[in-house]
Every structure is written in C-alpha cells, then in structure tokens.
C-alpha cells in the first residue's frame, strides 16, 4: 500500500513537470535533433515491451497460456482496424473462454 502511494506521488510529480516543460519552463525551445529522435521512439518501444510482459510474463518464466490466443485474435482485429475498446473486449472474451474450457 505504501509502495503504491510512492509510485503515485513520484510519477504524478514528474509528469506534472514534463507537461509544464514547454508552457512554463522551457518556452518555445526545441529539443536537440538526437534527443528528439530518441524521444520519438519511447512510446512504441515501451508499449511493445508491455505487450510482451503482459502476454507472456509468468513467475520469472515465459508462460504461454490462455492470454496468447486472446491477444493474437485481438491483434488481427487491430490490424483490421477495430477500435481499441473492441480489441480489448475480444482479447478478454477469447482468453476467458479458453480458461473456462481448459
């Protein structure tokens, strides 16, 4: 519980500074080109890493379980242009059904 509040406080404070960076602290300055190109990659990199841990992460092992078919079907739906909420629902339903049967 205390851990949770530390995370909430620190992430909240740092995010506040990030969002205020332009309007309050730095003005219209531009990031150096190298920094900008690294920053541009942060979102895809972190999100894909989260997909891997959230799909295959076990107790210090790679766990292939009911999540895999769920995420796979959702990936096809995303590729076909399904909205995010629909993709989430598809992943949840397929995974829940596989768990029910298994």
């Amino acid at each position: 519980m205390r851990d949770a509040w530390i995370v909430v406080a620190v992430v909240g404070a740092i995010t506040l500074v990030f969002k205020a960076a332009g309007p309050v602290f730095l003005g219209r300055r531009q990031l150096p080109a190298g920094v900008q190109s690294v920053v541009d990659l942060i979102a895809p990199v972190m999100l894909i890493a989260l997909v891997v841990t959230q799909t295959l992460g076990g107790d210090k092992e790679i766990a292939v379980d009911a999540r895999v078919p769920g995420v796979a079907v959702a990936a096809v739906a995303i590729w076909k242009g399904a909205p995010i909420v629909a993709a989430m629902a598809i992943a949840a339903v397929v995974t829940a059904l596989v768990r029910l049967v298994a």
Binding site: M1, D3, W5, V7, V8, V11, I14, T15, L16, F18, K19, A20, A21, G22, P23, V24, L26, R28, R29, L31, V38, V39, L41, I42, A43, P44, V45, M46, L47, I48, A49, L50, V51, V52, T53, Q54, T55, L56, G57, K60, E61, A66, R67, G70, V71, A74, A75, I78, P83, I84, V85, A87, M88, I90, A91, A92, V94, T95, A96, R99
Partner: protein, 229 residues
C-alpha cells in the same frame, strides 16, 4: 454550457474557437477515455493499489498508458523503482509534446502550470487540427477528458471491488491488447518498427532471468536506435 462559463476566452469570438468548441471537439472521443478509466480503476483495484491511490493517480498523472504501465509492473511483482521508471519513460514524450504548444498558453506562470496539466495525447492532437495549435481547443478538450478520466476511474474501483478475480474474465489479455492498440499508430516508420522489435526481444530474453519490471525498463534502451542515422 452557458456563456458565463467561457469567460476565460477573451479573443475575438468570430474567428477564434471558444473553450466550449474544445469540449465539443472531444465529445466523439469520450467513450474511449471513459472505458479506459473504468478499466484502469478495475485493474488498480485488483492489483492492490487501492481505490484512493488509483483515483489520485488519475487526477494527478492524467496519462493513461503510463498509469497502466506502472500498475501492470506493480501487479506482476515489480519494484517501486521499476514501476516509476516504466511510467516516467512513457511520459517523457510529454516534454516533446508540451514544447510544441509552449506559446499558446495565456496568463502567468501559475495559470500556465495548472492548464498545462490538461495536455494529453488526445487534447493535443485535437488542438492542432486546424493547422496551428489553439489553446481553447486544447483546454476545452482536456477539461472534458479529465473529468471523464477521473470519474470513470472512480467508478472502476467500485466495479472492480464487485468483480472478484479480473483475470478469470481475461482482463490481463485485454490490457495486452490495449498496449498493442496504443503502439500500432507509432509503427508506421521503419525505425519505430526496428526499435519495437528490439524492445520485444530484450523483454522476452530478460523475463526468465531478471526480476519483474526490469525487462520493461531495460527494453527502453531500444530507443537509442533513434541516434542511428
């Protein structure tokens, strides 16, 4: 919304959008943030974050992906440091985003500090639709999204309490799908695809050997591909 509520828009009303135009612009997006907030509340509750911490996080961080990332790391047994780093890395993009809209915020430092917190991916994207960034659109859209986000998180913590084990419902897979769907728009450029593949490989290799949370933080090094020409 009544006219008196948009007092802060001083500019010429015939050409400049008003705050309410920003609110209106965000209405079509409303179901998304509402359902994300709801699921964040449910996940946070099941991850043992506690209802109060979940709602405070939505009110202060107000950035969906980072909040999900932090809770996902904590939920999988990761350390406080790993959870913080995952969220902070994800939110670093707001430095770049806020620089693009630095000049549109009116008023003194305190007001700019407060209103800059309404910057989220969606309000920022909407505010630039006309070809130049417009403060009333950003602030109006941000306000609506903020109310939705905090409100639906609160609702989610209540629902989550009733639901029991969310993994039986496949919620763990739903969050994987969420992260994937959020990543896809970034994967149009070749360098982003290469970095994402490298990040996936780093994560995959480290899951069996590193403590929970560490694989995600280590995967962030894949961003350094950005330095390559």
């Amino acid at each position: 919304m009544r006219r008196s509520n948009v007092r802060s828009v001083k500019a010429d009303a015939s050409t400049t959008p008003r705050l309410r135009d920003g609110v209106r612009a965000a209405v079509p997006l409303a179901p998304g943030p509402f359902l994300f907030g709801l699921s964040f509340g449910i996940l946070a509750e099941s991850a043992g974050l506690g209802a109060a911490a979940a709602v405070v996080m939505s009110a202060t961080t107000f950035a969906g992906a980072a909040q999900f990332a932090a809770v996902s790391v904590l939920d999988s047994g990761g350390t406080v440091a790993a959870a913080i780093m995952a969220a902070v890395f994800l939110n670093a993009r707001y430095v770049a985003i806020s620089l693009t809209v630095a000049s549109i915020f009116p008023g003194g430092r305190i007001r700019r500090l407060a209103e800059s917190q309404l910057i989220v991916d969606e309000s920022w994207a909407l505010s630039g639709r006309s070809g130049r960034f417009e403060w009333p659109i950003l602030a109006g859209a941000g306000l609506l999204l903020y109310v939705l986000w905090v409100g639906s998180t609160t609702l989610g913590t209540v629902v989550g309490d009733v639901l029991g084990d969310p993994n039986a419902l496949g919620l763990d897979a739903a969050f994987a799908a969420l992260f994937l769907a959020l990543a896809v728009p970034y994967l149009r450029e070749r360098k982003a695809v290469q970095a994402a593949v490298l990040a996936a490989a780093i994560t995959f290799v480290l899951i069996p050997i590193a403590p929970a949370g560490v694989p995600i933080v280590a995967a962030a090094t894949a961003c350094l591909l950005g330095l390559k020409r």
